[in-house]
């Protein structure tokens, strides 16, 4: 299983723990990730400003993958949404495709976009292409006793009309299922489908932090040990900004925020340092110690029995 890894702007600069854990997990479960030097910003930031530029930037990235003959694995949900949307649009709209290819100085007829390559979020690849059986067979350490709150964010499944009915945008389950492969418990909580607010952070910080606060409050009430997510923007809101949100609303959350590959990496027995836990803003040390103690106890049980 081979994919071109699309990092986007945020993951390689603001969420290196996500990138690190993804690479280590991919190695462990047999996904080959190829870095293409042509990959740049996906185009999402200019969608609000100039639609044509948005299409051109996204198309350029898609063409690079098509030239390499590779499907794309995306870490950021907004990048995934952008690349899926544009690849479908250009595959089904001849006029737009011809115009875009001519503007990019590419030959028409050579590129089929969604007809030739697939763009998928990492989580969808794990859930749909790899599947629970394959992943389960590689699990070395069960994370039982740990309870986590899954955060799907918005662009992973929405707008649903570009994702071919994969999962259910209103009642999603793919991330819950992936969490449960590790034997950690995935819990339901109020505001589970709520937006993280990152989309408006640069425009109006107050609104963004207040939106994020809603979910942090709900997760806290739910008693989860951590939030598990899959998008560097959401990570920035709940991890990087957690302290600020706490100060703003006079509360303290101390809620570790894990990217899913970090959680899976622990279950695959990968050393926590290799999974980038030292880069998490809200330290997950006590949670990690609990996991390690539990796993040592299990080992001892094995020896004594």
């Amino acid at each position: 299983m081979k994919y071109a890894l699309f990092l986007g702007c945020t993951a390689p600069t603001k969420a290196r723990n996500y990138e690190l854990s993804t690479r280590r997990v991919a190695e462990a479960i047999g996904i080959e990730l190829i870095d293409l030097p042509e990959f740049e910003c996906c185009g999402f930031p200019v969608k609000s400003v100039h639609y044509e530029s948005f299409i051109l930037i996204a198309a350029r990235n898609l063409i690079a993958a098509e030239d390499a003959g590779l499907n794309i694995c995306v870490l950021c949900s907004a990048c995934a949404g952008t690349l899926v949307e544009v690849s479908r649009y250009l595959a089904s709209n001849d006029k737009a495709r011809q115009k875009v290819l001519s503007k990019l100085g590419k030959e028409d007829g050579k590129y089929g976009f969604a007809q030739n390559i697939k763009v998928k979020h990492l989580i969808r690849i794990l859930h749909e292409d790899l599947g629970s059986e394959k992943i389960s067979s590689k699990i070395k350490r069960k994370l039982s006793g740990i309870t986590v709150a899954p955060h799907y964010g918005c662009h992973y499944l929405k707008p649903s009309d570009i994702y071919d009915n994969y999962d259910d945008s209103e009642n999603p389950h793919s991330l819950d299922e992936l969490i449960e492969i590790t034997a950690a418990k995935s819990i339901d909580y109020l505001e589970k489908e709520h937006c993280c607010g990152a989309g408006v952070l640069a425009i109006n910080e107050d609104i963004a932090l207040s939106i994020a606060q809603k979910k942090l409050d709900s997760v806290k009430v739910s008693g989860a040990d951590a939030i598990v997510l899959m998008c560097p923007f959401c990570g920035a809101m709940y991890d990087e900004n957690q302290k600020r949100i706490g100060t703003k609303f006079q509360t303290s959350y101390n809620l570790p925020v894990l990217y899913y590959p970090q959680l899976l990496g622990l279950a695959l027995g990968i050393n926590r340092k290799l999974l980038g836990f030292n880069l998490n803003k809200v330290k997950a040390d006590s949670l990690l110690e609990r996991i390690e103690t539990k796993s040592m106890q299990n080992e001892q049980c094995k020896f004594s029995s």
Partner: protein, 440 residues
């Protein structure tokens, strides 16, 4: 087949309309003046009438008044020139369905007629269903209640107490309500802020916005046990809570009596001429909705029927009432172009797509607001954050620069080096003309 009557004193306009509407599948009759139109209306039934405002003899407005008097359900679409926009707005107050300005394209004509016919079809269906099921006609808002446009109602009980509930527009749009979470007695509620959570099909959660300020004096315990009362009797046994109000007289200014939402809009923004807060009639641009519809993503704006589900779902609206998706659409449909493009609020969408997923009309508000922002940029109203982002992309190909120092850190962490330098965005922006647009 729906039958449309077109009235205009210019034969070339009549021919154009007839050709377009016939091609769309309508039966079309035409006439050159209002007097003949009235004879035709007397003799036959038309599903919609498209009429020019300026006609020899009886004017389009007089025709509208006579028809609306006799057959209030017949939808009338006014054709207007730029100079007569104000009269067109007057016409809407008198019950016209909508207006289109000359010159208009076949698509614009088709779109407005399709909407009128679709509305008529829905009304008929509802009637039929209502008669069959012996239930009240849909969207039946009792006249003695007051309403917050975001779908909550208020019934005055005593001088200082009111009952609150949800209106049937909301209930019928979201479908069967499966549960409701009401805060406990003594909780303080604030007008315009969430006061209850309503659970619809497939576990969807909607926030109900409080119609008044005050303290909960009593919760409808019956409703807590049986949320189906919201479906079967939203204005009676389905009341939600009794509230001790703090300053009801003042809050009344934000509530409406049981009238259709669009009437409220027209009254507030046009009839009462609240020009301090709202736009001047002369600044209305009836073509704005068509302009949005021509932008990628803006295509569905005209099918919005103002149900407000988008507003009830929006996480930004929950925090800041300045941002209101339904209001933005209404403003756009009314032609408040300048006020929208100059506003700060269009930049507040967090692109969560919740509104898009739940809209019963498939309007795709997230895309609509993007289309509006694209127009704002072309007209020179770019938010500085986006100008800065375009600048960064043009310089580095990414939103964040990566230099050798970053790459050393990456290597230390066991990550591969990334390319550094300019990237290709600057060239793309040159090709697409974005840099020139931003310089404007």
């Amino acid at each position: 087949m729906s039958c449309i009557l077109v009235v205009d004193d210019e034969p070339v306009v009549l021919d154009g309309c007839e050709a377009t509407l016939t091609k769309t599948g309508y039966e079309v009759e035409t006439t050159l003046n209002a007097e003949e139109a009235l004879d035709k209306i007397e003799a036959g039934r038309y599903d919609a009438i498209v009429t020019d405002l300026k006609l020899p003899g009886l004017s389009g407005i007089q025709l509208l008044k006579i028809v609306k008097d006799k057959e209030p359900e017949t939808d009338i679409i006014m054709i207007t020139g730029y100079a007569t926009v104000q009269t067109a707005v007057e016409a809407m107050k008198l019950g016209a369905f909508d207006y289109i300005s000359k010159p208009f394209t076949p698509d614009e004509l088709r779109s407005v007629v399709d909407r009128a016919i679709e509305r008529r079809r829905l009304l008929r269906e509802e009637r039929l269903r209502a008669t069959k099921n012996r239930v009240a006609f849909e969207y039946n808002m009792p006249a003695d209640l007051y309403y917050l446009p975001e779908h909550s109602w208020v019934k005055v009980v005593t001088e200082n107490t009111v009952d609150i509930g949800i209106d049937d527009v909301f209930q019928k749009t979201i479908g069967v309500i499966t549960d409701i979470k009401i805060p406990s007695k003594d909780t303080i509620i604030e007008q315009g802020n969430p006061c209850a959570e309503i659970y619809g099909a497939a576990g969807r959660v909607y926030k109900l916005l409080a119609p008044v300020n005050g303290q909960i004096a009593e919760v409808n315990e019956l409703l807590k046990k049986d949320s189906s009362l919201l479906n079967s009797d939203p204005y009676g046994k389905g009341w939600i809570a009794r509230i001790r109000t703090s300053d009801f007289a003042k809050e009344l200014a934000n509530l409406l009596s049981g009238d259709a939402m669009i009437r409220w809009w027209l009254r507030r923004e046009i009839v009462e001429r609240k020009t301090d807060r709202y736009v001047q009639i002369s600044a209305l641009n009836p073509n704005f909705k068509h302009e949005i519809a021509r932008e990628p993503g803006g295509e569905n704006i005209k099918v919005c029927f103002g149900c407000g589900i988008c507003t009830a779902t929006c996480p930004v609206r929950e925090i800041d009432s300045k941002y209101n998706p339904r209001k933005i659409i209404r403003m756009a449909l009314l032609g408040m172009k300048e006020r929208i493009l100059k506003s700060d609020f269009i930049w507040l969408c967090s692109t969560c797509y919740a509104c898009t997923e739940r809209c019963p009309q498939d309007v795709k508000f997230t895309n609509i607001v993007n289309a509006i922002k694209n127009i704002a940029v072309k007209e020179g109203y770019t938010h500085p954050v986006f100008t800065a982002q375009v600048d960064l992309l043009a310089k580095h190909g990414r939103l964040y620069e990566i230099d050798e120092f970053d790459n050393r850190r990456r290597e230390k962490l066991g990550l591969p080096k990334l390319w550094t330098g300019e990237g290709s965005a600057a060239k793309i922006f040159e090709t697409s003309g974005l840099l020139d647009i931003l310089k404007k």
